[in-house]
Structures are given as C-alpha cells and as structure tokens.
C-alpha cells in the first residue's frame, strides 16, 4: 500500500503531468469508470486556472481573441504551476511569458497590454496610505520648499511602453475598435496607481516622468526645479514643476512629504 505521501505525489502527477499511475489507486464507481472520474480533477485544474487568467487579463483576451489567447494560456498553465495560497497571484508571470512567447516578437503591444492589466490589479489591492493633502503643502514656509522631499503613494507603478498598448487597452475597455498597433518613436511613460479605491493610469510627458522618477528617489524639490529647467528650458520651469506637483497631489499619487 502506498503511503499517504506517495499517494499524494501520484495524484498530483496525475493532474499536472497526465500520469495514469493514479488510476491503480482509485476505484470505478457503479456508474462510471475511474479514468472519467479522475478526469474531473484534471479538467477542473486547467479550466479553473484558465478562468483566472481570463478574469485577470480581460483586455489582452479581447485583443488576441479566444483562440490566440487560449494558445498562450495552455502553455502558461503547464509552465507555471501555482505556488501561492491565493489564486490572485497565479497570473503574475503572464506579461513576461507573453513577451518571450514565440510569435510575439512582432507584437510587443500584447505583452505591454498584459503589463498594464497586471499593474492595475496590483494597484487595486496594494497597500493603503492616506493621500497627501494640498493643505500640508500650503502650510509650508517659503524657505522650506527647496528642501521638500515627496513620498509616492505605495500603489504607484511606473511603466515605460514602446507601443501604443495603453491606447489599445483603453479602446478595448470602452468596447471600441482598438487602434492598429504602433511602435512609438519615443517611449511612452505611464503611471498606474489607486485613487479613491479605483485603479487608474495616465501617460506622463517625458519631462513629468523625469521629475517623478527623480522625486520618488528622494531628490529635493529645489533640485527637481533645476532639473526641469535643464530638461525643458528655464522659462517657466518652476511653474511647470509646481503644476506637475499639484497634479500629483490632486490625484492622490503622493502619500506624504518631509523637509530634508
């Protein structure tokens, strides 16, 4: 008689690898053969995980269509057995998987659509933090501003896209005909985050993206203004920096500030 450990190993191989050795351990029922009955577990495993990927990557599914999506899902499930207690994390490798999949070298937008969907999901249930209120900045003494250091909201994720994946995603979300895929001449900076319990994203200009990326590394506001001046010209540099900052505060992209 197999030990419980051996039996579970055999059972799991029966599901994951299609190994029929488990059929020596289970019984026919009065009404059905064991192969059909064990098949319920085999089928449920793939069907359940495929459904999870469908739910998590709804727009990628819409973009690729049922057949092409299913062709990616099957090998993903085979290559990435779930190693987490919650199915929430099962699909986390899909963007990289699509990127490295055969046939997708010419369609980099597919992996970027997946990347955006994953980032939106991660922002949706990422850590809580109260957003920085405008009053905290209003209370600052003028001499404190140059030394201001900003803290991003913990849900913010910065992406850089080489295709128009964000526009494709938005069209699909609105159930409109998506634009044709394009390779962008300049990479597009995207910020994803959660505001009022909703995950959202928007493109950033290259200047705003530069300032954001430096700000979240702890660069002081005075230096940020100098960087903006160098990047986009001295004229109105402080106003541009202040406008970006106000946008971040108004939309909950920041969780705090301090003076260094």
């Amino acid at each position: 008689m197999k030990s419980l450990k051996e039996l579970q190993d055999t059972f799991q191989r029966g599901i994951l690898a299609g190994d029929d050795a488990i059929l020596d351990e289970v019984n026919d029922s009065d009404k059905e053969q064991r192969k059909v009955l064990f098949g319920v577990y085999r089928h449920a495993y793939v069907a359940r995980l495929a459904e999870i990927l469908n739910d998590d990557y709804e727009q990628l599914h819409a973009y690729l269509g049922d057949q092409a999506f299913a062709r990616r899902v099957k090998p993903y499930i085979a290559a990435n057995p779930s190693d987490q207690r919650s199915a929430r994390w099962f699909g986390r490798h899909l963007p990289a998987f699509v990127k490295n999949s055969e046939g997708f070298a010419k369609h980099p937008e597919a992996a970027e659509i997946a990347q955006l969907e994953k980032a939106l999901a991660d922002a949706f249930d990422g850590p809580d933090a109260d957003p920085l209120g405008i009053e905290a900045l209003a209370a600052l003494a003028p001499e404190a501003w140059p030394n201001l250091v900003l803290e991003p909201h913990p849900t913010v994720i910065r992406l850089t896209f080489r295709t128009n994946a964000a526009d494709i995603w938005s069209a699909l979300k609105d159930e409109e005909e998506p634009p044709k895929p394009e390779h962008l001449t300049e990479p597009q900076a995207i910020a994803v985050w959660r505001q009022d319990f909703m995950a959202r994203f928007r493109p950033l200009s290259t200047e705003e993206a530069m300032m954001w990326d430096e700000a979240v590394h702890g660069v002081r506001f005075g230096v940020l203004c100098e960087m903006v001046a160098t990047f986009g010209g001295e004229d109105g540099a402080e106003l541009r920096a202040a406008t970006y900052l106000k946008g971040w505060v108004d939309t909950g992209m920041l969780a705090g500030c301090r003076t260094a």
């Binding site: 030990s3 799991q12 029922s29 449920a44 990422g126």
Partner: protein, 289 residues
Amino acid sequence: MITEKPPYLGFGLGLRPQHYQEILDGNPAIDWFEIISENYLIEGGQPLHMLDQIVERYPVVMHGVSLSIASTAPLDLAYLGALKTLAKRVKPKWISDHLCWTGVHGVNLHDLLPIPYTEEALNHVVDRVGQVQDFLGRRLTLENVSSYVTFGQSEMTEWEFVSEVAKRADCWLLFDVNNVYVSAFNHGFSTNEFLHGVPRERVVQFHVAGHSHEESHIIDTHDHPVCPEVWDFYRETVAHFGPVSTMIERDDNIPPLAELVDELDHARSIARDVLGARALADKRLVAAE
C-alpha cells in the same frame, strides 16, 4: 483555546464583491456573512475597506480554501500567520476550511482533493489540526468536501473519518449538505448514513449550494441555484441537527443579491417548517445572550 461552541447565527450568505455596495446601501435581511479568507489576504484597497464596513454591521465567519490540512507538505506558516492577522481584523465567529489537501511540493492545485480514509491519514490530519489550532489559538471548523474518486486503500467510510477527526482533534464541523449529496451520488452511499454518522454536537454550520449533474456523476460547481433534491436533504438535515447556522454558497454565475436572499428565505422557511418559528427564535435569543 476558545472552548465554548460558537453561537447560532441564523441564515447567511457568502460575501461577494458584486454585492458589496448593495449590502452597505440596503442592509438586506441577511443574518451573517462568510468570506473566502484568501480573497482578503491582500495589502489594502477596496476589498478590505468594504469588509471593514460589513464587519461593523454583521457577524462574519472566515472560510479558507487552501489550508491543505491533509497535505503531506509542511504547514505553511506564512499563510497561517496571514490568516491570524486577518482574524484580528475580522473577529470571525469561527474559522473554517476543508477536510482535504490542495497540493504538495510547493504547488497549489486550487482544488479540494480527496483523502484516503485510512488510519495513517487520520493520524496525520488529527496531528495537523492540533498544530493549526495551537497556532490560531482557537478551534478550527472543518468541512466535508465533494469528491469524484474513492481510494482502494480506504479502511473506513467518509463519515467515520470525518467523525474521528472531529473527536480526536477536538474541532468543529461544517456540514456541507450539497457535498454530502454529491459524494453520496458519486460513490453510491446513502445521504442518511452520512447524516446520522457524524457527531451532532460538533456541527456548527451548514453549507447549501447548487451543482452540475453529468448523468454518471455530479460536479460541485456552486454555479446553479440549489436543486429540489438538495433542499429535500436540507430538510432532513435540519430535522436531525436542529438549528444550525445556514449559508447559501454561490461562487460562479453570481446572480443579483435579491435572488440569493430569496434562496436564503427558502432555507429559512424549511427550517421554520421543520422546527417551528419558536425553536429558531429561542435559539437566536440564546445566541444573543
């Protein structure tokens, strides 16, 4: 260790995100909610925010799907720790999971897999339930699962196994009415034998759910309304156990809340019919004290 039997809660539903706002806006006539614990093992955002508000208004119980109590893989202490942290937030009336295993070698198959009913498995499960109860500092509630195969090596019936686990590990039982019905059909045993085979004093909750009939076997899909045969068995179950906290489980094809409330009312009317309104009301009063 909390030793007193958990309170009778009445008639509850599984909390599903589709219904959050309707529940909070309408305070529907639902006595309590069951959450899927894994869905709230996250860092923040709307699900936990909604849950906090539900917890303020309704009794809540935590129902897990990946404890894998019968697995021969080591217990996942990180998972148990997260469960304990969630329990501090939710203050559940009890914590349940399934009498099954979900994977070995670090893999989670996301399914409720069957156990051979042997002395070896029994000793293994009893030992693990003890460890989990010590870790959580409270008794665990374990649910019988639907199964599609039986093992040649089994030495006892499912209800004997379930009963022995409950007695030896000193835990509670969640009697899933639909799962007993499904497994009885699939394996050709009598639902009544199961019903009369488990210790009444250990049962703290019922699940009632729908399934998919495949002619030669039934699959426990939780995507249909409860069928008449399962309602008939629920009637027998209530007659046997008396008032036990009852919950309708729906995990797929989730209908509008009103439809589930109607199903719940059906369960209420069966319980009233079998036990009399007085018995239910008395039990609620006792629970409230």
